[in-house]
């Protein structure tokens, strides 16, 4: 598939979980479209960095989360709401859910079938990847606060 079309598809698809999960978090109605946009920007930026570009997925996640967080700070000041109202829902498409579940299910399998190096490798590989991606998301989100708004609140 054409790279541009692929990216466009990723952009559009990532907006759906951002809105769906924003509704679980009861984000106010007026903020939903911002969640959708931020989710799409974040996920498609990460996609272009690690899939089309050469960046490892963890670093791509960190960059994408930091960019979304910067946008979130701008919206937060405009709408008088905490940036996390917009940004956490936008992170949801990037959450490594499949890695986390695979790691835990591999542990359950070790218990059920007995130890094999393959199962342990699956558990450790997936678990570490999930941990590092989630850390990258949280650190990326905190980056404006760590670098720019060091001793003053964003809103």
């Amino acid at each position: 598939m054409n790279t541009f079309l692929l990216l466009l598809q990723d952009f559009g698809l990532a907006a759906i979980p951002a809105v769906g999960f924003a509704m679980i978090f009861n984000v106010p109605k007026t903020a939903l479209k911002y969640c959708a946009l931020a989710g799409a920007i974040g996920h498609s930026l990460r996609f272009s960095l690690y899939k089309i570009g050469p960046v490892p997925i963890e670093w791509a996640t960190l960059i994408a989360a930091a960019v979304v967080s910067m946008i979130g700070v701008y919206w937060a000041q405009k709408w008088r709401a905490h940036p996390k109202v917009f940004t956490v829902a936008a992170m949801i498409p990037m959450i490594p859910g499949v890695y986390a579940f695979t790691a835990l299910l591999a542990l359950v399998e070790i218990e059920r079938k007995g130890f094999t190096p393959e199962l342990l490798r699956t558990a450790v590989d997936n678990g570490l990847r999930a941990f590092f991606i989630i850390s990258a998301l949280a650190v990326g989100l905190a980056l404006p606060g760590l670098l720019i708004y060091r001793r003053r609140p964003v809103v």
Binding site: L13, F21, N26, P28, V88, V98, G145
Partner: protein, 269 residues
């Protein structure tokens, strides 16, 4: 509960402000705001309403709060009961604090505005449909990243399984079941529905359907909150939120493994 502050009685005023701060802190913690935000909003509200200082110690299921004014100190301890994530409440509380900071609200005004906040919730059916669509989108996103394709039935069964599971999850939550029990039961149902597609051979990518339909159970908000808390120095609450998130994931695993055993459909690993 909170009366108009009596200028002639500073103790009454301080007690009222302490109660207001405790109420604000409690509301924020109950609706899953991160600790740095809870502490900053509570402190700023207290300072805006004339206190010399506000200090707060946060724990996983409660907090201690003190206000200082002219050498007098009021301390209160409150329990924190989780009421689920609600960004609407967090936004409204923050706006109340900002109005107080701008001098547009006094203690009585803040109290009245807090009374008026009723947690907003989206209609259950709408959330279920949107979450169903979200999981179908997750399935597609996962395939895009691996340059793979799947048939329409895969997306359809993912949508169906996760929408039904979300409806069950919301129903069980409304009956005040423990979230761990709730997640295990709903994950069992999601995997069972997806397993039908695998057993009857309706889908050409069984692993995709099975793994995407349970993604609605990934506690993304608690996980990010846990890491954010720890990055910002609230190690205690960060650990307890993180452990809760991992427990929720494990509860889901129980449901998934049970369903795979019942239907004998081991497509995950």
């Amino acid at each position: 509960m909170v009366t108009t502050p009596d200028i002639n009685c500073p103790e009454t005023h301080q007690r009222d402000v302490t109660n207001l701060c405790a109420r604000v802190g409690g509301m924020l913690l109950q609706h899953s705001a991160e600790c740095a935000l809870v502490e900053s909003i509570t402190r700023r509200l207290g300072l805006a309403l004339g206190m010399d200082g506000v200090e707060m110690a946060l724990m996983a299921n409660g907090f201690t709060l003190s206000t200082f004014r002219r050498g007098r100190c009021d301390t209160t301890v409150r329990r924190n009961q989780d009421r689920g994530i609600n960004m609407h409440v967090v936004t409204e509380v923050q706006r109340t604090m900002l109005l107080a900071e701008e001098g547009k609200l006094d203690a009585a005004g803040v109290s009245a505005r807090l009374d008026a906040i009723t947690p907003f919730r989206y209609p259950r059916w709408l959330v279920s449909v949107m979450v169903g669509l979200s999981c179908a989108a997750f399935a597609r996103l996962g395939l895009l990243a691996r340059d793979a394709e799947a048939d329409a039935a895969t997306y359809l069964i993912t949508f169906l399984a996760s929408a039904v599971a979300m409806q069950v999850r919301q129903y069980l939550a409304s009956l005040h079941f423990n979230p761990l029990v709730n997640f295990a039961a709903a994950a069992f149902i999601a995997t069972s529905i997806a397993a039908q597609g695998v057993i009857h051979g309706w889908v050409d990518s069984p692993k995709v359907a099975m793994s995407a339909c349970v993604l609605l159970f990934v506690p993304g908000f608690p996980l990010i909150n846990a890491m954010s808390d720890m990055v910002k120095g609230y190690i205690n609450t960060g650990i307890s939120r993180g452990v809760m998130a991992v427990l929720l994931l494990l509860a889901c695993c129980t449901g998934i493994v049970l369903a795979m055993t019942v239907w004998d459909a081991w497509t995950w690993l």
